[in-house]
């Protein structure tokens, strides 16, 4: 490979890494602001203008706290737990295509480099593999703490992740069938026109995928591994200082990566309506190199706007919905999502036989009709007039 392409790739990899960390850092701030907004409070506003330095202050506090290791704990595994959690979280952003290509000339040669850390033809499998490893950090840390609450949290995390991974994978298979490729870039290129975004062709798959992403990130309403009403602090009960910080931080990185993955798989990635017109106009007015780069930049901005919307959605749900009970969680995963996603795969395959992309709307319509019917047949809630004292 050319040295110029290698150094360009190196810059992109460093940028992706830095942006991931920065977004995760400010997600903690955004989470507190969103919570404050939804609960009609003000939120952090003391450190810096609008409280913008709050994440820095939090990180400083975390670093200077006492790093305590319980005496009966398995010391090396206790350290390994948060390391694994943050490692697997940071690995997954490597294959996400953040934009189209950048053109530049160097040493009188023309180059075209994709805005993506690494392009591999099994990108979807790579992310799936890394996600399935994410649970080790929680399990190892929870077991090594030598605390029953931590162990229960770790076991809950493991069974929850395994259960929801199946439905996650099955809802992905429908998309892979439509694209015929495991490369994320190929999946995004397939969704070039607005009405072929996978959210329109695969509405049911999108809902299943979104819910499973919540479960894989251990976010509310599926945050049973760290359910404080039952398990003190869950798997990180015994953790303190930056080890705890790494566990919390990896959750925010996972949230960012899942948002990026959802926007890439179902919302066309860096595509937006009338993208060809905008790109053509820019290339006409600014020239083939500068115009193309500006068009790529707009695509990247659009992609990040989608990602930020989904991060906000994660927070919105967290501060709106209560937690599931554990048996409800398992029933939802095994008895609802897995059969539904298998049905989704079958109907998608049948539709593809007749070259009809929107076949899964059939299931969606049937489900809406069933929901309306059951709500119509449900006993009416009678309003008891309040007694005035």
């Amino acid at each position: 490979m050319d040295l110029t392409i290698l150094s360009a790739k190196g810059i992109i990899i460093l940028a992706v890494f830095g942006i991931t960390l920065l977004i995760a850092m400010y997600s903690t701030y955004a989470e507190r602001k969103v919570a404050a907004f939804l609960q009609d409070r003000i939120g952090p506003n003391r450190a810096g203008p609008w409280g913008l330095l709050q994440p820095v202050a939090d990180a400083g506090k975390m670093f200077f706290k006492e790093d305590f290791i319980p005496s009966q704990a398995s010391k090396w595994l206790f350290i390994l737990g948060p390391c694994l959690a943050i490692l697997t979280a940071l690995m997954s952003s490597a294959v996400i295509p953040f934009g189209d290509t950048i053109r530049f000339s160097w040493d009188s040669k023309n180059y075209e480099v994709a805005v993506q850390a690494i392009e591999i033809n099994i990108g979807v499998l790579y992310i799936f593999g890394v996600v399935s490893l994410g649970v080790y950090g929680i399990m190892v840390g929870g077991w090594a703490s030598n605390n029953k609450f931590s162990l229960l949290g770790a076991i809950r995390a493991a069974s929850q992740n395994i259960s929801y991974e199946i439905a996650l994978g099955l809802s992905l298979i429908a998309i892979l069938m439509m694209t015929g490729s495991l490369s994320l870039r190929a999946i995004i290129d397939e969704q070039a026109s607005f009405f072929e975004w996978n959210v329109f062709t695969q509405p049911l798959g999108f809902i299943i995928f979104l819910t499973c992403a919540f479960a894989e990130c251990n976010r509310t309403p599926f945050d049973l591994p760290e359910c404080e009403t039952e398990l003190v602090g869950g798997y990180h009960t015994e953790y303190s200082s930056m080890k705890l910080g790494f566990y919390l931080f990896s959750e925010y990185i996972n949230m960012f990566v899942s948002s990026a993955f959802i926007s890439a798989l179902y919302f066309g990635g860096f595509h937006y309506p009338f993208m060809d017109l905008v790109g053509g106009a820019l290339e006409n007015s600014l020239g083939a190199v500068a115009g193309h780069n500006v068009a790529t930049l707009i695509g990247v901005v659009v992609f990040f706007a989608k990602i930020f919307f989904f991060i906000f959605f994660f927070m919105w749900v967290r501060w709106t919905l209560p937690r599931f009970r554990y048996d409800q969680l398992m029933n939802l995963g095994w008895k609802t999502f897995i059969p539904l996603s298998i049905l989704n795969v079958v109907i998608t395959g049948a539709g593809l036989l007749f070259n009809f992309k929107y076949s899964t709307w059939l299931i969606a319509i049937v489900m809406i009709v069933l929901a309306v019917m059951s709500s119509a047949r449900a006993p009416k809630r009678t309003v008891v007039p309040q007694q005035t004292v």
Binding site: S74, N121, I122, G129, L133, L151, I162
Partner: protein, 184 residues
Amino acid sequence: MTETITFFKTLTPTGYLFLALTALTLLSAISVVTARNPIYSVLGLIATFFCLSGHYILLNAQFLAAVNIIVYAGAIMVLFLFTIMFLNLRKEDEESKTNLTKMASVVVGGILMVMLITIFRAKSAQVPVVNATTFDAKTGLVENLGNLLYSDYILPFELASVLFLVAMVGAVMLGKREAGDRHF
């Protein structure tokens, strides 16, 4: 001594990578057997699977490497760890360390070793040397694998999936709670 030095000098970067990976694989595989604590054994086994995936990538089989990690390291080993965490690890389990079990494991392991040695020494099983000029770089990738599985190997592939289905139905049968069973 000079022979080993010249051998190391003639190696390509891939060769060094292979040697390092092999050393890691053997180390982690040995740690699976020698670790006193079952949790360390399982973690060693996970490390072994990762090293094996590295070998698959060196052999140009990306799909196999990814699937190995997803299925073995990501799902089956999580279940292993899950089960071992439930066991009471503080008590030494003396039952599994009688002389009979040790003898049985030595015999089984020895038979496996003899089998592997005979397989690798058989003339018919010698791996043909790959010609670098005519080698198709897409050999181990998903498309070729899919085409092979659904054309030449369709019968074994379908039989294997039926086998999995039977195993799953069996697991559901065993796990089903019958009328008189107590609730946990």
